[in-house]
């Protein structure tokens, strides 16, 4: 039985982190006292985010010990692994690579919402002990793990793109955000990393589909939307490298890209219900 207390604790710490980053964003930095408070808020945010990651990691370990497999099989399981991945990739960028990025306010609400979602689910009913035959494959692990890295990177690029749009639209806020040059550079790096893993996700899924069903591609709605995601980010990278797009146009492309990611991940599930399409994907 999964311990929901751990997940609710993660909801709490992610909430604290988001609030701390909000406070950090709102406080000005004209006076020394303000700068000091701002620094404290930033530290509180980082510490709360790290505790969140620890709690989510413990939840993943707990899942593995109970179900004897990685949480990659059903939608609610992938939501857990994504909440973990979003937090991890955000922290890797924010804490390890560039502390002054200050993207927490714009990225952490995503794992926060995901963690609330998974904490209110009835795991006993939604998570089968045993996966269906087609899912019993090592390709599943590579496929979903790549999706996790890809979507987490795209989530980070989305947060940065929102910051770029904010600083362009509201010049008053620009002083509280990192330089747009820096935001542009990091958003593109996040998209590039995501694109590599989106490619690996598509290709491993294709190899696996060939092993399981005898066809590497079948225009299954989930497959098609994953291809659309890939194309949107291919558009992003080409627009940037060969057409020198930047700023608002490029940021909007990243926002559209992440909207497509979200739709691929859970929009397709209700779309197939709504249009009465058949999808072989369970998550």
């Amino acid at each position: 039985m999964m311990n929901m207390g751990l997940l609710w604790a993660a909801v709490g710490t992610l909430g604290v982190a988001t609030l701390a980053y909000l406070v950090q964003f709102v406080i000005g930095d004209k006076e020394a006292a303000e700068r000091s408070r701002r620094r404290w808020a930033g530290w509180l945010g980082s510490v709360a985010a790290i505790i969140s990651l620890v709690l989510l990691t413990v939840s993943v370990i707990q899942f593995v010990t109970i179900y004897k497999r990685l949480p990659l099989g059903t939608f609610v399981e992938t939501a857990l692994i994504m909440a973990w991945g979003f937090t991890l990739v955000y922290l890797a960028a924010e804490v390890l690579v560039e502390r002054r990025l200050r993207a927490g306010l714009f990225v952490l609400p995503l794992p926060l919402l995901l963690t609330i979602y998974i904490a209110v689910q009835d795991w006993e009913r939604m998570v089968p002990r045993h996966l269906m035959p087609a899912l019993q494959s090592y390709w599943l692990q590579v496929h979903v793990a790549s999706a996790m890295v890809a979507y987490s990177s795209f989530a980070l690029s989305f947060g940065l793109a929102v910051m770029i749009l904010l600083s362009e639209r509201l010049p008053g806020l620009a002083a509280r955000l990192p330089q747009e040059r820096s935001l542009n550079a990091w958003a593109s790096k996040a998209v590039a990393l995501g694109f590599v893993f989106e490619t690996i996700m598509l290709l491993t899924g294709s190899v696996w589909a060939q092993y399981a069903w005898g066809r590497y591609w079948g225009w299954d709605p989930k497959e098609t939307w994953a291809l659309i995601t890939w194309l949107v980010y291919a558009f992003y990278l080409h627009a940037r490298t060969v057409r020198a797009w930047k700023g608002r146009r490029l940021a909007w492309t990243a926002v559209v890209g992440f909207a497509v990611v979200i739709f691929t991940w859970f929009g397709v599930n209700w779309l197939t219900e709504f249009v009465k399409l058949r999808s072989l994907h369970t998550y």
């Binding site: 045993h130 590039a192 290709l203 190899v207 005898g214 066809r215 057409r243």
Partner: protein, 421 residues
């Protein structure tokens, strides 16, 4: 501060080599050119490439908004689909991915990708001798990008080859029967088909024990299961469907089981869902309710006073076991309101304790094990549906996949991890 892509390409390579890549490197064709040159210029334009990427993304989307069928709207109507517009059908929107305009769009994107990549390769070759030391790492990135793009085209060639020279068909085989593989000069015999279960009663996997027969000789034995296809002479066989032969009427070789449930030593009232005569404090269950297309037999017992249900499932492949589930909830079913208290595979002679309940089972004919199935019982006979696929394009596709993954990994990891200062 991080130096990003566009700077990498433009300042490092672009400045040093003159014109390896530069932003806005091309313009839409000017009217003085002749029509072939104009077409070439249009297809090598990066604006065109970007437009085509966007167009393929947008039109792929259409096929997920409407139900799709190889026969278009007519095919869908045949399946009972009532809505739909003949106008949309005329544009192929009920079979988008095979519609001529979609295939053309995809083809144009590939031609555009090929021409742009060739153009960049030409630039690289011309610029190579002039490349300075500082540009060397950028050159690796550039070459890796070309490798990734060419690999994508290799994949497309593989897909084309597969669609021209490949085949995909279904082979339905009852146990013990043999059939010639479509398009091949060998046969496949299904010796045995099997369905196996998890302790909670869900299907674990389907197995087809097959023998490949060439010129009357058995040449290869293999157990096909989901995710484990048989490969033979360029053909692959995938476990796709499974079922019980429709003429199967005889009882399955399963022993009856006597069941009693007590709570604090008091026997509880039980009612069988499938056999109204089975009501009382002690039941003899013969497992007659079968699951459609499956050798599995189930019995559902309701304990009305406690608001509990017992689901017992049995299968001829494991005659000494009972899949036992105890569910809480008045309504029969495993839907919204039922909570699983117990789900395991237990012996037909087991005594199971679930909370205050004690479930006692007794095997009424323990000799009816796997080895002891008497002749009076007709053996169940199953069939297996194998998907037969021959795809000579696969090696190219896999090769292209590797090139794409490696190429892009190099392209994007160098600037991220190497060029960040």
């Amino acid at each position: 501060m991080a130096r990003d892509y566009e700077e990498l390409y433009q300042r490092e390579i672009g400045r040093q080599t003159g014109a390896l890549v530069s932003a806005n490197e091309d313009h839409l064709p000017s009217p003085e050119l002749n029509s072939l040159d104009r077409l070439h210029a249009l297809l090598t334009s990066t604006s065109t490439a970007l437009f085509l990427i966007g167009a393929v993304a947008a039109t792929s989307l259409l096929g997920t908004l409407l139900p799709q069928h190889p026969g278009g709207l007519e095919g869908l109507r045949g399946q009972g689909y009532e809505a739909g517009s003949p106008l949309l059908d005329a544009f192929g929107l009920y079979d988008v991915y095979r519609a001529p305009w979609f295939v053309l769009l995809l083809g144009l994107l590939m031609v555009s990708a090929l021409l742009c990549t060739l153009k960049r390769t030409g630039r690289l070759l011309r610029a190579c001798p002039r490349l300075g030391r500082r540009a060397r790492r950028k050159r690796i990135t550039f070459i890796a990008s070309l490798v990734a793009h060419y690999s994508m085209l290799v994949v497309m060639v593989g897909i084309l080859l597969g669609s021209v020279a490949g085949l995909s068909d279904m082979l339905y085989l009852p146990e013990g029967e043999m059939a010639t593989v479509p398009g091949a000069d060998f046969s496949v015999r299904l010796d045995r088909a099997e369905e196996r279960y998890n302790p909670d009663g869900s299907v674990r996997d389907w197995y087809s024990y097959v023998t490949v027969v060439e010129d009357g000789q058995d040449v290869k034995e293999y157990v096909i299961e989901v995710n484990h296809p048989l490969q033979h002479r360029g053909f692959a066989f995938y476990q796709s469907e499974f079922g019980l032969m429709p003429d199967q009427t005889g009882p399955l070789p399963l022993s009856p089981v006597r069941l009693q449930v007590t709570q604090d030593g008091q026997p509880l009232q039980m009612i069988s869902m499938f056999d109204a005569s089975q009501t009382g404090e002690e039941l003899d269950l013969v497992f007659t309710a079968s699951v459609p297309d499956s050798p599995k037999k189930i019995e559902v017992i309701v304990l009305p006073e406690e608001g509990l249900q017992l689901w017992l499932s049995r299968y001829p492949t494991l005659p000494d076991k009972v899949g036992l589930r105890v569910l809480e909830g008045e309504a029969v079913g495993m839907g919204e309101d039922a909570e699983t208290l117990f789900a395991e595979e237990v012996d037909t002679t087991a005594t199971v304790t679930v909370g205050r309940l004690v479930i006692e089972m007794e095997d009424l004919d323990p000799d009816l094990g796997v080895e002891m199935i008497p002749e009076a019982f007709e053996q169940p006979r199953f069939w297996s549906g194998l998907r037969v696929v021959k795809n000579p394009g696969l090696p190219l596709i896999w090769l292209g996949f590797m090139g794409m993954s490696l190429g892009w990994a190099v392209v994007f990891s160098l600037p991220i991890f190497g060029g960040a200062k």
